[in-house]
Symmetry: C2
Amino acid sequence: MPRVTIKDVARAAQVSITTVSHVVNNTRFVDPATKQRVLTALEELGYQPNSLARSLRSGVTRTIGLVVPDASNLFFADVARKIEDIGFQQGYSVILCNSDNNPGKQSRYINTLLAKQVDGVIFISSGSEPDDLMRLVENNIPVVVADRDVPLELADVVLLDNEQAGYDATKHLINLGHRFIACITGPNHLAPSMQRFEGYKRCLKENGIDFDPKLIEMGDFRFPSGEEAMQRLLSSSSRATAVFVLNDMMAIGAMSAAHKAGLSIPKDISIIGFDDIEIDAAITPALTTMAQPIEEMAQYAMNLLIEHLVGKKHELNQRIILTSRLIKRDSTARWEE
Amino acid sequence: MPRVTIKDVARAAQVSITTVSHVVNNTRFVDPATKQRVLTALEELGYQPNSLARSLRSGVTRTIGLVVPDASNLFFADVARKIEDIGFQQGYSVILCNSDNNPGKQSRYINTLLAKQVDGVIFISSGSEPDDLMRLVENNIPVVVADRDVPLELADVVLLDNEQAGYDATKHLINLGHRFIACITGPNHLAPSMQRFEGYKRCLKENGIDFDPKLIEMGDFRFPSGEEAMQRLLSSSSRATAVFVLNDMMAIGAMSAAHKAGLSIPKDISIIGFDDIEIDAAITPALTTMAQPIEEMAQYAMNLLIEHLVGKKHELNQRIILTSRLIKRDSTARWEE
DNA sequence: CTGAAAGCGCTTACAG
DNA sequence: CTGAAAGCGCTTACAG
């Protein structure tokens, strides 16, 4: 059975398609009796407007693209979840674009979003390709960059103050009496990793602790890399009593490595993570971490985007900087020499 | 700057829009010289076809809808991830529809998918509303039901043999010497929970162990409910030595409750979960679980759907039943009285 | 080898 | 109070 169109409804209700359109959209007065006939026909035929036609005509799709680097990272999964939720409330669908940290895939997805005429996009960069963003901007598609800063003037941006958060995490460890504080970083081309790491170094310096490169290991923000980085740390000659892991997924991996090495957390070694994903509170010991305000971030990103979409004026290059906060749980403890 | 259309390209290349369309789609022979002119114009203007117009005309959107009950459940996040991945490879975009286990939201999302003329949908039910599916089927939209069975004749279905998996999990515990085996279930209106529970009961029976209702607690498949269920279990007069938790998220919550109660896993109590989400191997102790073949499930679902989309014939009501397998890790151990 | 034209299903000035 | 018609940007018979 072919789809029912506005024409079918018009025929059934004995009116023009103009009138059907107006009652469907409630966009001009229609005589109550006529309106009722149309409503009945609509109901009986089970009419469902064709968004493609509507969008083609009106230029509005009520669809936004969400580009994330890695949907298996729980942090991004949470963000995606929130964006979807807020979008739904506002009547927007979201096309999920997982770039897999792959510039080629990201680029192809941007083409798709362009072709599908999305009204806007929320963009979490997979790295260093501002070209993709430029293509969006050139096509007048508003984009809000979230989480990972990008060298582009023409987008709004909502970020965390990662440097300060890195500082605060380190400070927590220092306050607890730690002096040998290791750090497991993410890929160093990613701004969040870099900045957290900068905060770590600044904090050491301000507290008169020498920076020791032997205490630094790099991971890729995923579980296994955290485990491996921790193993390297434990088998080296360094004697860390605490480690600041730059995201929670790696922190959980690191905890696992510590356990396997027979260490007790936090008695033998303290671990602090970053993100505050839901599972942190459920594992043992519960993970101390720097919380990212995911909901707030998603909310700001969507609000900024929607302001553009409904044409409300605001500065083109608005920057919103959110702050992280320390969530003390059970994986960090006082260190007595 | 307004979007560039096929008309702009035609004008620039001095040909008809017909010809431009044909070179864009490579759909009929075009004189090499002419073709080159078009290609150049395409490039210079940065032409990007408008999918809306194309889809409206051709009736094909190369977009599928993915309806999941709860995107914050890691299992569904993984499934979504895989579907997106396979879809991308085949040239399909996916619209993420998180029903939040809310029938109203699910229903509104189905409307959206209908309006957006998706080519097909992969559907993981939030419960018991076959009406939504009927609307899809009535509009000739192929749907593949995954994970949670649904009383509908007109869809393909890819499921896990949950009953057998429940049996196998329980058998593992019995083989280890356990006789007092508790079970933390999911909502009992969900087929997977029900069926796993049936398998549990069958296994007890076949092994001459009396079913004890005091050993059963219900959760909602999320972390906190697993923790709470475990607390109830521990504070009751029952004396479980092992617990079969019907998904991993709850199992992790249950482990946390056991730890907080001062129990050591698996020495004092064994725990087996269900799903095999990525984090299972990273926590301590690593969680023994029944693995769901997520990749296989996503692959079958997409293949079935795509077969429909490209018009390949196959039975309308095809049922694919996958089997789970036991992943022994460190949260279960032999019980000596 | 190429183009003029119909038509996909809508919205929306314009007219009465 | 309502309708005829143009047009959104494409694809695709049809014709030459």
